[in-house]
Amino acid sequence: MLAANLVLAAALAYVALLFGVAFMGDRRARHGQSRWLQSPITYTLSISIYCTSWTFYGAVGSAARSGLEFATIYLGPTLVFAGWWCFLRKLVRIGQLHRITSIADMLSSRYGKSAGLAALVTVIVVAAATPYIALQLKAVTTSFQVISGSGPAALAGFYSARPNFTLAFWIAAGMAVFTILFGTRNIDASERHPGVVAAIAVEAVVKLVAMIAVGLLVVVGIAGGPAEVFARMPAGMLHSDSVFGPRWVAMCFLSGAAVICLPRQFQVTVVEIGDERHLQTAAWLFPLYLFLICLFVLPIAIAGLAYLPAGANPDMFMLTLPMWAGREEVALLAFLGGFSAATSMVIVAAIALSTMISNHVVLPVALRLPWVSLSASGDVRRLLVRSRRVSICLILLLAFLYFRLSARFNPLASIGLTAFVGVAQLLPCLVGGLFWRQATTRGAVAGLAAGALIWAYTLLLPSFQGELLLSSADIAAGPFGISWLRPHALFGMQGVDPLVHSVFWSLMVNIVLFVAVSLTREPRPLEQLQATLFVDVFRNDPADTSRFVSRSAAIYDLNVLAQRLIGVDEARRLFEAGGRGHDPAPDHPVADDALITELERKLAGSVGAASARAMISQVVTGETISLAGLVQIADETQRVRDYSRQLETQSRELADTASELRTANERLRQLDSQKDDFLSQVSHEVRTPMTSIRSFSEILLESPQLERAQSERFLRIIHEESIRMTRLLDSILELSVLEGGGSGWVLAPTDPDIALDNAVGICRGLSAAPVIQLVSTPRAKGPCVMADPDRLSQVFINLLSNAIKHNTAAAPQVRVASVLREDVYELTVEDNGPGVPDDVRARLFSKFARGWAHSLPGTQGAGLGLAISWQIMQRLGGTLELVQGSARGACFRLQLPRIQAQGALRVAEG
């Protein structure tokens, strides 16, 4: 035995060491020297708070009672971590991206940031965790009594003795002080506690070392080898029929669920993780830790049963075996190991629970109460810190009360399993939330509430053995004697282990309601948005959120809100960063979606998504969520289809652009060659008159004695050639003006037939021989086209004079016919001449084409007439083309659109 004072001194020294470690951890983290704290090893060790005093003492007790069953509690977590790639990776990624502060926050954030769901989850986990914390108090108190006790009572593990409640109270108070000191120092954005993590990492090492030390003492020191230990194993310890039955499966499942859903596990695994990559190490290192912890459990249990007096408390074999062997230093180490396991669990659980209570119960209530003023800077922080401190005290007080109430019964393991079933109720909506888009808040609430009620009825209340709500008679025979309502045989399901019974009913009802209620109604827009962000976390950028939510708020209001919660400095930093790229100037007082979303994320990091949303909603107006955008990113096939459609459009556009470029290039080449042709034509046309002018003026200069008649003839030629050249240059000028579109014409309703009569009159004088035959439809058409009459005459004259001049027939004839059709005025000019040679047809209307002129000697004209006419018709919105006539001669057709004046039309047709 050890003196109580010595044990107490050792415990206090150990606590002082933990204080030191936590203090150093906090300081180093603040100064950024947290390399050791940020290592994956520390992360893994902090996860090992899974191994509480239930593991340390209870696993041996469980092994002594039911053989290998103890291992199920560690196989579940081993499998969950080995399968990290499927589930934990996603959970951690979401937790990091959305700044999740607790499991309640995770669920509420996924289900449309529902404050009600967060509160419900908080209530369930507090109800589940209280017995669990009580269990730690019980373990520490009993272990203290055992190690400082003496005689057969101590060696029997104080099985029947009354626990020392005074001691338990002070242990609880000490833990509360430690938790408050290191767990609620600051409400920072990340909700991480480096000091606490450092302390629990140290405790993880201590409990593993203690476990292995006791194991080695038993196997090597007492028994003398593993085979010798197992030789003393009671017959049938490992081979009872019931071990590998439904209970085995249920417990593996429960422990796997617990390592995800227990608030303290969620806290260390998801919230406190410094780097997502740590999970890769924890994936194998944590199973290895569990493996080492379990390795000696069975030998210790066997040795306890074999060497200690019959009836000794198996839950205390870890202490009583070294004491029995007279190795008090090992006993003290074991005591410190158990103490470590208990304290680390209580501290982290209290932090996690107090965070949930303050964020999801206290703050939402305070936001609704009109008399709670949260308007000054830092008010919300103060409220949060105070409520967390108070809730830590309350949680430990509650656990202490539970311990007092239930002290006389229940081995450690069964209390722990009760808690496991409670938190396992969170699993369906957590898994559903991460992988099922259709899961809704109503479904989650319905499933959770029903599952938790059945758990409380079938497992939690009966664990008080008639002392709370349900009397012993009710438990045995059902309330009011209704037998199918018996808590351990619901609906007549008999002969099943109570744990399996409770797991079956609670989770089945939970899952069925969760799925069924989710399917009854479409998720609300916010639920859809969050569902997409969570389910597709590896595909979507969370910064995209602002794309789908559009709302507006005054920068000023947001700033005030941010200062209230995250403090003046932090708020200024946020707004300066948010203002970059936008306009922070006072004339832009409205914040954009990106800034609001960023602020909401920041607030969510300290008060949880639901409360952050509630606070933002107070200053935000006109929130809309784009469902179309959501549906688009939610549907994988839709995404692929959209993408390929985009690609198609792009390639089509590219092809179009390329062919346009080709056409344009071709056209440029043509224009270039036309320009060259034009220049050479112009030079040629100018050169002929210039040559004759020059030669005749030379003759005149060199022969002064020339006859007067002769010189007059020469001067006339010079004069005519000059006129011809001027006409040519005029035409070129006119054409270039037409092509440039530069002249200001006055378009007016015109009767084209008047212009035609005009032209025919002028052209009759050109030659007496050709007969201009006018074939006209009824003339009184009235002003039916929009045109400039002079320009129109010019075109007609050109067409008629061409037909007359180039007509080499013996009896030249020109046939002019005009007709007014449905929507066009049409004129055809046809002659009985030689017609247009095929090789000229294509370029008939281009400059200097002069279709059939070259073949004719002595023809006049620059060859620009048709080009000018064609340009004029273009400008008037009409067409001019060469068509197949009735005879072999050339036939031109001119068309002009009719104006849509109804009156004019009616006159024309009548």
Binding site: L97, L238, Q280, P287
Partner: protein, 77 residues
């Protein structure tokens, strides 16, 4: 945020290995070894359970290293 993807068979293995271990830990597999037999004085079922456990830890360690090489991570937001 496109992560460089590890080899597909590694991804599949990351799912298959824990599932296989789950099967091996569950009845009826584990019941097969619950017979009164011992190896070097240690009961067969104990050796089986801790053996599968150790193998799982080793495989997970090996897989985690291969998956880690793919550099799948984002900095803390």
């Amino acid at each position: 945020m496109m992560d460089r993807k590890p080899a597909p068979r590694m991804l599949d293995a990351a799912v298959v290995v824990p599932l296989a271990a789950l099967l091996l830990f569950m009845p009826p597999f584990i019941s097969l070894f619950a017979v009164p037999a011992s190896v070097f004085g240690i009961p067969l079922v104990v050796l089986y359970m801790f053996g599968v456990w150790a193998a799982l830890v080793l495989l997970t360690w090996w897989l985690a290293r291969r998956l880690a090489a793919s550099g799948d991570s984002v900095p803390r937001a």
